[in-house]
């Protein structure tokens, strides 16, 4: 049985997500299936529109697609739980929930309703909270701050802290930050931001990334395409997905540490937020997602609240018990 899947993703070829997640997945699938399944990766916008990868799979244009639940949050906020949200679990706890705590089964159920098979292919590390032209170290610093961000964090910043979320298209972020047209921007994890050169454009780097403690990407396949595979091959592809996620997370950590060392050595100043302020931000994020889930419930869609309850219980247990773990932080 020989199968070839064209797999478009939502980021351009050459982006760390593309290389670390999708290309790694392609080679792991090749390795584990002994070449029976070939994954052909394609960068954003080549085969299907960058933000419509899920639609492209549903419409049968491509056999499978690689994207993130972030792009579905506007259609259905339940996706925010899987996309990573302000105040949510960090990569350690989250990947444990996904692979051992029932998370990926919940995601699979959600996608199954749309006729899609979901494979988690890529869990990321924490992002950098901001590259900023003004120092940020307390809630007052956020007031009136023109901050390029999106999704749940934009709402939290506006509604809880009086910041001004600003929409800037990707191609113009650097110029606008450098010319001080915006006060702050957030983009990705340290290893993703380093090559973009934001640390050369603005003097402050604010961490940790409470706004996006982790993030998840998935490969979706049409159910009938998936069912057409032998069970033995299915198991190998699933194994390749999990292997990819674990390897890519370790790769992110490794790259991020090196990137952080470079960022700290640069002219920009790294500001680490005080625990009290971190808690303020985290609480606001959790409040936001709980209110969103309740609003969904009031509309007769209880599922978000159900999944969120499990998620938050897992997060709380992790927070209470993880004190025994050695993290080697200074």
């Amino acid at each position: 049985q020989d199968v070839t899947w064209r797999v478009p993703t939502s980021v351009p070829e050459g982006s760390p997500f593309y290389v670390n997640f999708l290309e790694r997945f392609a080679s792991n699938v090749d390795l584990l299936t002994d070449g029976a399944v070939e994954i052909q990766p394609f960068g954003a916008g080549i085969l299907v529109p960058a933000l419509q990868v899920y639609d492209g799979v549903k419409d049968g244009i491509v056999e499978a697609g690689h994207s993130t639940p972030s792009y579905l949050v506007n259609q259905d906020p339940v996706n925010a739980i899987f996309a990573g949200f302000p105040g949510g679990m960090g990569p350690e706890a989250y990947s444990t929930w996904i692979f051992q705590g029932g998370g990926k089964e919940k995601l699979a159920e959600l996608r199954a309703e749309e006729g899609l098979k979901s494979l988690v292919v890529g869990i990321g590390s924490s992002e950098i909270m901001a590259h900023a032209n003004t120092p940020i170290s307390k809630a007052e610093d956020l007031k009136g701050l023109k901050y390029r961000t999106s999704g749940p964090w934009a709402e939290v910043m506006r509604d809880y802290f009086g910041a001004v979320p600003t929409v800037v298209p990707p191609g113009e972020i650097y110029t606008l930050l450098e010319r001080k047209g915006v006060d702050a921007i957030e983009w990705g994890p340290p290893s993703g931001n380093l090559p973009e050169g934001f640390h050369e454009a603005a003097p402050y780097i604010v961490v940790p990334g409470v706004h996006q403690p982790t993030f998840l990407w998935e490969v979706v396949v049409k159910q009938e395409t998936w069912d057409a595979l032998d069970e033995a091959v299915q198991a190998k592809v699933e194994a390749a997905a999990e292997l990819t996620s674990l390897q890519s997370l370790a790769h992110f950590y490794d790259q991020d540490m090196k990137a952080m060392a470079t960022l700290r050595a640069s002219k920009a100043e790294v500001i680490e937020l005080e625990p009290a302020f971190q808690k303020q931000l985290t609480d606001a994020g959790r409040d936001w997602i709980q209110k969103t889930a309740e609003a969904q419930k009031a509309e007769g869609k209880p599922r978000m609240a159900e999944i969120l309850a499990e998620y938050l219980a897992y997060e709380d247990r992790w927070a209470e018990q993880s004190g025994y773990l050695i993290r080697n932080s200074k």
Partner: protein, 173 residues
């Protein structure tokens, strides 16, 4: 019959062209408002970016049919100019009627299906914090593609009947 078809196609193209022109003004107004709102009021909008990219998309799709009517889609005709006018007309007519009209009709149908699906599912913009409904934009694309298909039909018939005999470029400035 044929003349009615040609008239209808021309009217539709020119009507949509007027809307496309309005889109230019909307595009500029939205960008300008964003600059003022962000810089002067310190309160950038959530919608200017979406309005800008959508009005750009709409203005070119709705304008495309009229551009064809004016034969202003650029051609390189230094070689084809050597052919007799009848042959050129036949090439144009054949390509327009047999190839391009079906292609653009089909694209318009897909665009229409997409608009209908967006309407039924209440699809909103994927990443915009403003999250506008998408079906009006999809519909504009579908209408523009359909009008282009119709104008291609009209120009194909014209090319067979009375081939253009001069250099195709006659935009006056």
């Amino acid at each position: 019959m044929k003349s009615i078809l040609l008239t209808v196609a021309d009217r539709i193209s020119s009507g949509l062209n007027a809307i496309a022109q309005a889109m230019v003004l909307i595009l500029i107004a939205s960008m300008l408002y964003e600059v003022v709102a962000r810089y002067v009021f310190g309160a950038p909008t959530l919608w200017a970016f979406d309005v800008a990219y959508m009005s750009t998309g709409v203005l070119f799709v709705l304008g495309a049919a009229q551009v064809l009517r004016e034969d202003a889609h650029v051609r390189i005709d230094f070689l084809s100019a050597l052919l007799p006018a009848r042959v050129r007309g036949a090439i144009d007519g054949l390509a327009f009627l047999a190839v391009l009209c079906p292609i653009f009709t089909w694209l318009a149908v897909i665009a229409g299906q997409r608009a209908w699906r967006a309407f039924q599912t209440g699809e909103v913009e994927h990443v915009s914090p403003w999250a506008p409904l998408m079906w009006p934009f999809y519909s504009a694309l579908a209408i523009g593609l359909a009008a282009l298909a119709l104008q291609i039909l009209a120009e194909g018939l014209r090319a067979l009947a009375a081939p253009r005999n001069d250099d195709s470029f006659k935009i006056e400035t």
